[in-house]
Amino acid sequence: MKKILFTVLLALLVLWGCGTKEESAGSTPNTDFKEKVAAKFGLTLFELDNGIGPIKEKINLTNQIDQIMAKSGEDVFVQKCAQCHKLDERYTGPALRGVTERRSPEYIMNMILNPEEMTKRHPEAKKMLAQYANQMTFQNVTEDDARNLLEYLRSVNQ
């Protein structure tokens, strides 16, 4: 019975996952449901949408790409990430072009900064671990590095 409930929840979560990017304030039926899902996984609503880690609130982003940050991000990416991630090719980990469409910016930064806990506790990250069979590791980057990496990943969509 528990298993069925879990499967149903997971299915709902996957459906809901398509809407991750929409952030609505206030209590709506959708929020109520997401709160239940988050509680089910022992997460806060913020964590469900934005991952678990040092990024605990929404960051300010504009549509404009900061090219200097994106370049710094690319440098870190080449040195510390590219052995596992390509932009368009499944490699040790998933291809990353378009990841900013799939995940919230804070989720991406938390995944970079706190991958072990993410793959243990966050349902989406857990799925990725099961799919790729390799534990993503923290690569000793700073929060600024992670922000620059995010900018780089945003820039490659354009």
Binding site: V78, Q79, K80, A82, Q83, C84, T92, A133, N134, Q135, T137, F138, Q139, N140, V141
Partner: protein, 647 residues
């Protein structure tokens, strides 16, 4: 319900075990149920102490947890280790260079923790190499050998490396006296031509870098062990000597004739004054100083050509001899710094000298003669007391910081506990068998953590499952928290443990290095990310800049290598998290594998001798796809024109 039945069975178990314990027959020296609890470290819990035990003839240091006796690591020092590549890779072979060439082995006896204000500070561990005299410094952030300094004008560097209170100096002494400088003389001219040296190595307070500050040329006895003073005796160092007979053959008999040999007391602050006055002489002699650059991931060996030597006859007040029965081995200074305890192998008592009496005797010139200008103090003038009934063959003494001393007795195979000041023996416990050194955590420092004493035994005979002619050696953990010593645990050791040191775990564990930062990696053949992975030919040398990450090497297909080339696999582990080493092995390698820590670069040199295709792979199970972490290198004929290619 389940809980209740668990409690009932537990209670029954305790009742039964205590019943069994009460009926314990002969051979049950301790209440083992009680002992088991005291040494049991539950899964996931940590030991209370790190213990560093010398490997003796294996040239290494082994790291154990106390009280569990579990071994964590063997640190390669004066040894090669095919498991990691230490002593095989071009990065590490310079560590083993000496004035005799590369010497990949030594006999390592005495680990010694660095101290600040007389207390082990957990920064470095020093250990001696006897055979080709050397002192190594291990960095306790990485648990790796950081430096090795050869000691010139020395042979059988046994009496080392012991530190002064703030690690101002690491001291060393010669077991074998020698013609100094070395020259071709008759061995029978020993008394005329042979001398010993006492060496003072300066350790930089920030970096730990060692250099020889000065050596003192002393009469040609066998200098055996040493310890520095502390508290009031800070500024002095004490060295035992035997063979004051100056025999050069059959020492067993010929060096056992005198009733008393000597403890040499050296005033090193006085030596510093004499050096300032220019009393030291620069003497030409070659010796190496090797150090590992953690950012370059590369060792360097530098040849030094000179040392400063001080001659006691030019420097009155520098050194005194304290007569000490009989062929003394260990010399240990109590936590207060007042008492100097010598273990006379052939003595029937343990003589304890008093530092304050010694100073008075020096002032009053209570001498009974001199040897080569070194005054011999009168035994009665310096002696504070003698411990009688101390067992046969007393060797070494450690202290618990609560007013008691513990001496190992080799021949009677026991530890004898005695009270400082009254010199009375208050307890004794057998050891199994033939104890050499003993160790209390911090037991040679100003503030011992006097909870356990570890017996380091030479012989195990019937104590363990037999393993052919060669049996393991052992340590025994003994509880000294109460009035009576209680044996808690036997555990086997790797190599022959001589001395050991221990320190509370919390002093070290928070400083441990988890990985090497890629940003700081200055290895000349570093690969800074997969985009830089490549293979290059320079003449007949192929340099492969390879990365390792879970779970592939880049490049993993290399072609254009020819028979007769020399191939360098420079492998950089790109991981930046704890506990993700990668291994690297290639078929036909004549040396070892590589074990590459996160962020580190190491090099394997490979000589392709046959045409064909040869596999390489990761040897350290790194992830679920570890078995996929592999590649090939193709070897073409020597006259092939194929260019180097890779992907």
């Amino acid at each position: 319900m389940k809980k209740i039945s668990l409690i009932v069975s537990l209670a029954a178990l305790i009742a039964i075990s205590s019943a069994l314990y009460n009926c314990a027959g002969p051979g049950d020296e301790t209440g083992y149920a009680d002992a088991a609890q005291k040494v049991y470290v539950a899964p996931g819990q940590y030991d209370e102490f790190y213990s560093f035990m010398s490997g003796g003839f294996n040239g290494q240091v082994s790291v154990y947890g106390l009280p569990s006796g579990r071994m964590f690591k063997s640190i390669s020092v004066f040894s090669q280790n095919p498991e990691t590549g230490y002593g095989y890779t071009p990065e590490t072979t310079p560590m083993l260079e000496t004035s005799y060439g590369m010497v990949p082995w030594d006999d390592a006896h005495h680990p010694e923790l660095s101290q600040t204000d007389g207390i082990p500070d957990g920064r470095w561990l020093f250990i001696n190499g006897n055979n080709t005299p050397r002192v190594a410094r291990i960095d306790l952030r990485t648990f790796e050998t950081a430096e090795i300094l050869e000691i010139p004008n020395s042979a059988g560097n046994h009496g080392s490396p012991f530190v002064t209170m703030n690690t101002e100096y690491v001291i060393a002494s010669t077991r074998f006296s020698l013609p100094i400088p070395q020259r071709d003389v008759a061995i029978s001219s020993y008394k005329e031509n042979f001398k010993g040296t006492l060496t003072f190595i300066r350790a930089d307070n920030e970096t730990g870098d060692m250099e020889i500050a000065f050596q003192i040329l002393v009469p040609g006895f066998d200098y055996d062990l040493a310890h520095a003073g502390k508290g009031p005796s800070h500024g002095w160092a004490f060295f035992t000597s035997y063979n004051s007979e100056q025999a050069n053959t059959l020492l067993e008999i010929n060096a056992s004739r005198n009733d008393k040999d000597f403890v040499a007391a050296v005033n090193w602050k006085k030596a510093e004054e004499y050096l300032k006055e220019g009393k030291g002489k620069r003497v030409k002699v070659d010796y190496t100083n090797n150090y590992y650059d953690e950012e370059e991931h590369q060792a360097h060996s530098e040849m030094r050509n000179e040392v400063t030597v001080i001659y006691p006859e030019d420097c009155p007040g520098l050194i005194y001899y304290l007569p000490t029965p009989k062929s003394p081995h260990g010399v240990d200074v109590d936590p207060s710094g007042e008492y100097i305890v010598a273990g006379g192998k052939l003595a029937t008592v343990i003589p304890v000298h008093s530092f304050s009496k010694m100073l008075t005797a020096i002032e009053n010139e209570e001498f009974e003669g001199d040897i080569d200008g070194i005054p011999i103090l009168k035994y009665e003038s310096v002696n504070a007391g003698e411990v009688e009934n101390c067992g046969l063959g007393p060797l070494h003494t450690e202290f618990d910081g609560k007013g008691y001393a513990y001496t190992s007795a080799f021949i009677s195979s026991e530890i004898v506990k005695w009270k400082i000041g009254t010199w009375e023996v208050v307890d004794r416990i057998p050891t199994y068998y033939s104890i050499g050194h003993l160790m209390i955590p911090g037991g040679d420092s100003k503030e011992p953590w006097g909870k356990y004493v570890v017996a380091l035994n030479k012989i195990t005979k019937d104590r363990y499952l037999p393993t052919g002619p060669e049996l393991c050696q052992s340590a025994q953990l003994i509880d000294i928290s109460g009035d009576k010593m209680k044996l808690l645990l036997d555990f086997p050791t790797v190599g022959e443990p001589h001395y050991a040191q221990a320190i509370p775990a919390e002093i070290l564990m928070n400083n441990t290095k988890r990985f090497y930062e890629l940003e700081k990696n200055k290895h000349p053949f570093k690969t800074g990310g997969e985009a830089e992975a490549r293979a290059e030919r320079t003449g007949s040398e192929i340099h492969i800049y390879m990365t390792a990450s879970r779970t592939h090497f880049k490049p993993d297909n290399i072609e254009g290598v020819r028979v007769g080339d020399k191939v360098f696999f420079h492998v950089t582990n790109l991981e930046q998290d704890w506990d993700i080493p990668h291994g690297f092995a290639v078929k036909g390698a004549l040396t070892s594998e590589l074990l590459i820590m996160p962020g580190e670069t190491k090099t394997l040199v490979w000589y392709p001798k046959k045409e064909g295709v040869f596999p390489f792979y990761c040897t350290d199970f790194c992830s679920a796809l570890h078995q996929e972490m592999q590649g090939y290198i193709r070897v073409s004929p020597a006259n092939s024109n194929a260019a180097v290619s890779y992907n």
